[in-house]
């Protein structure tokens, strides 16, 4: 085999767009790598993947990948992905979005996507700040963290996205950080294989805004902080709440088998439109040209 001396994931990327626009040490590149790694582990071809993204730094990822992608309005990637999945249930629809997209403006879409248990894989890159617009405090910024809109520290309590999505009815929920690339890859693999709403929260670094304002100027400082402050779920379950202040709980949060929405709607359309009755609905959902 001829060796190209290129990174093993370059084959999935649009080479003419590289180097990517992300800051030095941004976590988005790591999430991209771990996604490709997880996809290889799940033995899914890039041909069967559609990437949907909203607005934000993390939402630029699909633009670099050689696959079908949809760059949508702010906060609405899950709604667009719902439509995509229903139009072609055979595709693996992956939503890449940031914390501003999923937790702030698109919070409603997130919980309703989870409630329906749509077969989507949502990868939420949570860097705890609005990185693209200049470091404003986001709904996931930890209490007391600094940002350009919180010069004295944030007074708000952050969202625990994984708990929120679990409560809303998702069938697979996991949280890892960019400092755990192998665990994250296997979580993405499980998410892609899972039939139902899979939510993978990736705690990521934004050295430019979050790091600079919170005494972690370099990406290495931020990744070291994430590695040191993370506690695995199994261990955290036995710990006291006061011990877990400021810690990042990582691991698989939730996995359950639940009826999936696309299957339900396909079943409904075949029940309501028996084969002897020609129907536009059936042909739209099942691709039957004979009808």
């Amino acid at each position: 085999m001829e060796k190209t001396r290129e990174n093993r994931f370059i084959k999935y990327l649009r080479k003419d767009r590289l180097p990517n626009i992300f800051c030095a040490g941004c976590g988005n590149g790591i999430v991209m790598n771990t996604f490709f790694n997880g996809m290889e582990m799940a033995q899914i071809s890039m041909e069967d993947v559609v990437m949907v993204s909203g607005i934000g730094c993390s939402s630029r990822i699909p633009g670099y990948v050689k696959c079908d992608s949809l760059h949508t309005t702010h906060g609405r990637p899950i709604s667009f992905a719902t439509g995509l999945k229903l139009a072609n249930p055979d595709m693996n629809v992956v939503v890449f979005s940031g914390d501003g997209d999923t937790a702030a403006i698109g919070g409603n879409h997130l919980i309703h996507g989870a409630r329906r248990n749509m077969d989507l894989t949502v990868i939420c890159i949570n860097n705890s700040i609005y990185g693209m617009t200049g470091g404003q405090i986001s709904p996931t910024s930890p209490h007391g963290s600094y940002g350009s809109t919180a010069p004295y520290g944030s007074l708000e309590n952050p969202f625990d996205l994984s708990k929120l999505v679990t409560a809303a009815g998702a069938s697979y929920v996991a949280r890892w950080t960019t400092a755990h690339p192998l665990q994250l890859s296997s979580a993405i693999k499980k998410g892609l294989k899972n039939r139902g709403f899979s939510f993978i929260e990736v705690v990521s670094q934004c050295p430019t805004y979050f790091g600079r304002k919170n005494r972690m100027r370099s990406p290495i400082d931020m990744m070291r902080w994430m590695k040191e402050e993370s506690v695995v779920k199994r261990k955290a379950d036995g710990m006291d709440e006061s011990e877990l202040v400021g810690k990042i709980i990582v691991g698989d949060f939730h996995k359950k088998e639940a009826p999936e929405f696309t299957e339900r709607i396909c079943q409904l359309s075949s029940e309501q439109c028996p084969p002897e009755k020609p129907s536009a609905i059936r042909s739209a959902y099942r691709g039957d040209s004979s009808a």
Partner: protein, 73 residues
């Protein structure tokens, strides 16, 4: 004998040094010289320590690192 070949794409590297910090065997060293783009591209000084775990190529945010078996030695 070195049987690993580590290639760093100098056009893609942005010098974040995540590889130097997170390599489990400290293969990489920070470079003291700037390249054309003004980036300190790390160098794989200790290739003999490499176990081909591929953590560096997974962690590189700019897809600049490739770890291969060296077929020239």
């Amino acid at each position: 004998m070195v049987d690993v070949m580590i290639t760093i794409d100098k056009k893609l590297c942005k010098g974040c040094n995540i590889c130097t910090e997170f390599c489990p065997h400290q293969v990489y060293e920070e470079s003291g010289t700037l390249n054309k783009k003004g980036v300190h591209v790390p160098t794989p000084e200790h290739e003999e320590r490499c176990t081909k775990c591929q953590i560096c190529s997974l962690l590189c945010p700019d897809q600049a690192i490739q770890v291969d078996e060296d077929d020239e030695s």
